[in-house]
Amino acid sequence: MQQSFVILLNKLGLHARPASHLVKIAAKYKDTTVEIAHRGEVVNAKSILGVMMLAAGQGTELELRVEGPQEEECIKDIVQLINDKFYED
């Protein structure tokens, strides 16, 4: 399992558009389990409702957990997306 802690840098946090970017990337890795943990809540990163439910704002630290084939690539992709501020700002 790959695990990583990332801080949301973009201004508006994980609102609808960034969430959908994230979900699309996670969903590319079909047989891989991708989860985000925040404040004791764990959601499937391939679920847009799940990701938006976290209501994570700027500066929030998220825990990523990825397990399955291509897990290293997958977590790298997601961390990069978050660090690139979801191509926003």
């Binding site: 079909k30 809540e41 764990v42 499937n44 391939k46 679920s47 847009i48 409702l49 439910m53 825990e63």
Partner: protein, 336 residues
């Protein structure tokens, strides 16, 4: 921290660490009829156990084994006992009890705390709450409330639909079509409880209750369309706030190497938070009507409740026929 990837988390779930007295007051004010009588400054105290304690023996001076960390309920017995004491004994009894880190005291029956108790509550910052309920009623209500607040829970990536009164938990990998099945079931007149994230709580031994996190309640995501508000679109008949989780329907891609259940004599089970529920694995392929099969699964649950199983019935008929044939063979031989 949660480790939902592990089987262990599915079995144990997460449990609330504590509940502030203020939260008890906010949420329980109406049903429990709670009001603050003294010790307002101690409302941030934490309740860490769901058990309730009556401190009669502690007030009488037996302080060994005093479960002070629990919510203390002072019924008529305790109140009258204190009233019957001399002022100095009363002050000592109150002081020795209130010297412990008690989360809060509750006085049902609209009883009022004595002067000594109020003074100690203010000094020790321990809230005293009052209630109109009788002691028994209050203890029952409070115990039910604390049980549910401290119940273990997990979030499961799935959909929960009430189909003909049976709670069907639809699971399967992301993108397999759980939400589409849920939407189709709503279209057919069934009721959606939650989609995508189902919060399952173990409310009592053997009882799993599923609901939706408030944020995304009654929303469904359909690939290619986006988010759908089921309540707006289908009205209240298409939704439900919570439902017992009775069967898991796991959607899986057709796999030639998997042996699918063909008869239904053997029941596969799965377990959430230590509660076993039946598991039906459903192979999917294009053109197959999963919603209709989901309805049949729900009805089958009802039939099993009434003691009927199609597989067992068929087996019974077969045995009867085999027995008849054996008898006929015997008679023929005998005739010769």
């Amino acid at each position: 921290m949660n480790t939902s990837l592990t089987e262990e988390h599915k079995e144990k779930g997460t449990t609330l660490g504590h509940l502030k007295v203020q939260e008890l007051l906010d949420e329980g004010a109406e049903p429990l009829k709670l009001i603050v009588l003294a010790g307002q400054s101690g409302l941030s105290r934490k309740i860490i156990e769901k058990e309730i304690h009556r401190p009669g023996l502690a007030l009488a001076g037996f302080l060994q084994l005093f479960s002070f960390q629990r919510v203390q309920v002072l019924g008529n017995t305790e109140v009258h006992y204190l009233r019957g004491l001399t002022p100095s004994d009363r002050a000592n009894a109150t002081k020795s009890v209130m010297a412990h880190e008690i989360p809060c005291l509750i006085l049902p029956n609209s009883n009022k705390p004595g002067k000594e108790l109020v003074e100690e509550a203010e000094r020790a910052k321990i809230p005293i709450l009052g209630s109109e309920h009788s002691t028994t009623d209050l203890i029952n209500l409070l115990s039910t409330y604390l049980d549910s607040r401290f119940a273990p829970f997990i979030s499961v990536h799935s959909s929960l639909v009430d189909v003909y009164g049976s709670g069907l938990l639809i699971t399967g990998r992301s993108g397999i079509g759980k939400s589409e099945v849920a939407l189709d079931l709503v279209e057919r007149g069934h009721r959606l409880v939650a989609d995508d994230v189902v919060r399952i709580e173990k409310k009592a031994e053997g009882l799993l209750i599923g609901s939706s996190p408030e944020m995304i309640r009654h929303l469904i995501e359909i690939r290619g369309v986006g988010l759908i508000d089921v309540r707006r679109m289908f009205g209240v008949r298409g939704i439900r706030m919570q439902k017992r989780v009775e069967v898991e329907v796991r959607l899986q891609e057709w796999d030639d190497n998997v042996e699918w259940e063909r008869i239904g004599l053997d029941q596969e089970n799965t377990s959430y938070l230590g509660v076993e529920i039946p598991l039906v694995r459903l192979p999917i392929f294009p053109g197959k009507n999963i919603s209709m099969i989901a309805e049949v699964i729900a009805l089958n649950v009802h039939l099993k409740v009434y003691g009927f199983s199609a597989a067992e019935e068929l087996e019974k008929r077969m045995h009867e026929k085999i027995n008849r044939q054996n008898l006929r063979r015997y008679l023929i031989r005998d005739y010769e």
